[in-house]
């Protein structure tokens, strides 16, 4: 049963050189208690997709389509109703923890604020809940940590604070946007472990947005690959890593360290004037004539949906 259903979502911007479709008619279903990884290179539109769910897009974005959560279309909710959902039922973990936290307030206050605002819990009780939460997040001295400011904590700790804020209210869905970007091995492991533990404990669904298939592999049940604003493959994790179907998915996998750092040939296409037909065809080693002419639809191969003529 899906808790989040994205239908024909398009996010468009007007630029000086023409309209830019960051997300182009994307349909995706996120099941209850699953971890869905949305993987793609920087600029493919995956962050925009994540932000669209909570209507956190830049002011000049034009959105069309539906995002259904428990039967309601999130896109049609007013600014009054949205804050109830944000943080409470669907929470968002941002990139760049040190920038996402308020530098002039202690981390304890920032976490307590989440309790106070959403659940109208009194400040004193909220402080207690904060300490408990920090303890569960693995901080051995929660009171001390709560009294510190973000600049006094390391990047990894701040990332854990952000995650703590996101899960404080037991949301149904956690959207994590590049939670491991720029972190070193050790921190990456920590954050991955954190997210893993949380989704098991809280029974939340996790929508993981990342460029790193390695991280996706450790956490997710299903993988969705995004290229140039479109989803080109959605597959159960096990099937995916055994052998991805879409040539881009394959190339992406090949470029990862475990597989030898083989670069994806060519360069990323322009989102303003994407290639005709299949958007990946100029870089594809297995392209056919039809690939340059018509855009492939989604074909079903066992449990995988793939947008490629090879699997017609």
């Amino acid at each position: 049963m899906s808790c989040l259903q994205i239908r024909n979502l398009t996010v468009r911007f007007g630029t000086a050189s023409g309209p830019l479709k960051a997300v182009d008619c994307v349909s995706l279903a996120h099941e209850k208690e699953e971890t869905l990884a949305l993987v793609g290179e920087t600029g493919c539109g995956k962050s925009m997709l994540g932000r669209a769910v909570l209507k956190l897009l830049p002011g000049d974005a034009l959105v069309s389509g539906e995002i259904l959560y428990e039967g309601r279309n999130l896109l049609s909710l007013s600014e009054k109703d949205l804050p109830v959902i944000r943080g409470n039922e669907i929470s968002y973990v941002l990139q760049n923890p040190s920038l996402a936290l308020d530098p002039v307030r202690t981390v304890g206050k920032q976490i307590s604020e989440v309790f106070h605002i959403h659940r109208r819990i009194k400040i004193k009780d909220a402080a207690r809940k904060t300490d408990l939460l920090l303890q569960r997040m693995g901080f051995s001295t929660p009171e001390e940590i709560a009294s510190l400011y973000p600049f006094q904590l390391s990047e990894g700790m701040n990332q854990r604070i952000l995650i703590a804020m996101a899960v404080a209210l037991h949301p149904r869905i956690i959207i994590a946007d590049e939670p491991t970007k720029g972190l070193d091995e050790r921190l990456k492991k920590e954050v991955i472990g954190e997210l893993d533990r949380i989704k098991k404990e809280k029974e939340s669904s996790l929508l993981l947005i990342s460029h790193d298939l390695g991280v996706a592999r450790k956490l997710s049940n299903r993988i969705a690959i995004m290229y140039c604003g479109q989803i080109v493959e959605v597959s159960p994790a096990a099937d995916f890593f055994a052998g991805p179907l879409h040539p881009y998915s394959r190339a992406l996998l090949e470029s990862h360290p475990e597989n030898g750092f083989n670069p994806v040939p060519g360069t990323a296409p322009s989102m303003i004037a994407p290639p005709r037909g299949c958007r990946f065809h100029p870089r594809c080693g297995r392209k056919m004539d039809i690939c340059a002419e018509k855009e492939p639809q989604q074909y079903r191969k066992k449990e995988t949906d793939v947008k490629c003529f090879l699997h017609r």
Binding site: D184, E185, R186, H211, G214, P257, P263
Partner: protein, 232 residues
């Protein structure tokens, strides 16, 4: 004559906190290393272990508290101005944040031209040299007319490399050059670096926290921990 090697000899760097306090924070403790042309020395360590400081000391951007950096037989601290200048062009550094490495107020063409002028290339040959440089790092001409924030991380890093290459360095110290890039773009840049090394015979000091990356590019690896550098 053998081309000079880049060597650090018992380099230490300590910071004292406060004017009168005796407390000293030792970031680097008697670190020694040597790189020859054509080879890649990898330096691994977690964030905040002083890797960047080491890189800056080797490039001469920062002075060590004790110890010396040698280029060939000459110690950095003993070099005269003209020798220093030549050292500058022979040993270059590439930083982690590609977009931050380029002046945000200048178009790429200007950023590149200013360095090109340093090499004394005559005016009429400048455009040609620019285009050649772009080609060697896999970029197209349209990049020239944009600002750094309009380019992707990978493109910016390539511009940074093109700029550094104008000086025809013998050594490049790369401080986490791919950490801010996507996995797939990282692969491209790593291959570019390898190709450039094959073509020019440069030596690299490759600093990173990412084990798989360091192992992929390096001939030898040193691990920086607690201020000390250990070679396996």
């Amino acid at each position: 004559m053998l081309s000079p090697s880049l060597r650090a000899d018992e380099v230490s760097r300590a910071y004292s906190s406060g004017l009168l306090s005796k407390r000293k924070k030792t970031v680097l403790d008697r670190v020694s290393l040597e790189v020859k042309k054509g080879e890649t020395l990898g330096i691994m360590g977690e964030s905040g272990t002083g890797k960047t400081t080491l890189g800056k000391i080797i490039t001469g951007l920062e002075a060590p508290s004790t110890g010396n950096v040698f280029y060939g037989e000459k110690s950095l601290s003993r070099m005269k101005n003209t020798e220093r200048k030549r050292f500058r062009s022979r040993v270059q550094m590439v930083f982690q944040n590609p977009e931050g490495s380029l002046n945000p107020r200048k178009k790429i063409e200007l950023s590149l031209n200013q360095v090109l002028k340093l090499t004394g290339t005559p005016g009429r040959k400048q455009k040609e040299a620019l285009l050649l440089a772009l080609e060697s790092v896999g970029l197209t001409e349209d990049v020239l007319y944009r600002y750094p924030h309009q380019l992707s991380g990978g493109q910016n890093q390539r511009v940074v490399l093109a700029r550094v290459l104008f000086l025809q360095p013998h050594f490049i110290v790369l401080d986490e050059p791919t950490s801010a890039l996507d996995m797939s773009v990282q692969a491209q840049i790593l291959h570019l670096l390898k190709r450039l090394q094959r073509e020019t015979g440069m030596g690299y000091v490759f600093i990173s926290h990412d084990r798989s990356v360091v192992e992929f590019v390096s001939d030898r690896i040193g691990i920086l921990a607690n201020g000390r550098l250990h070679f396996s």
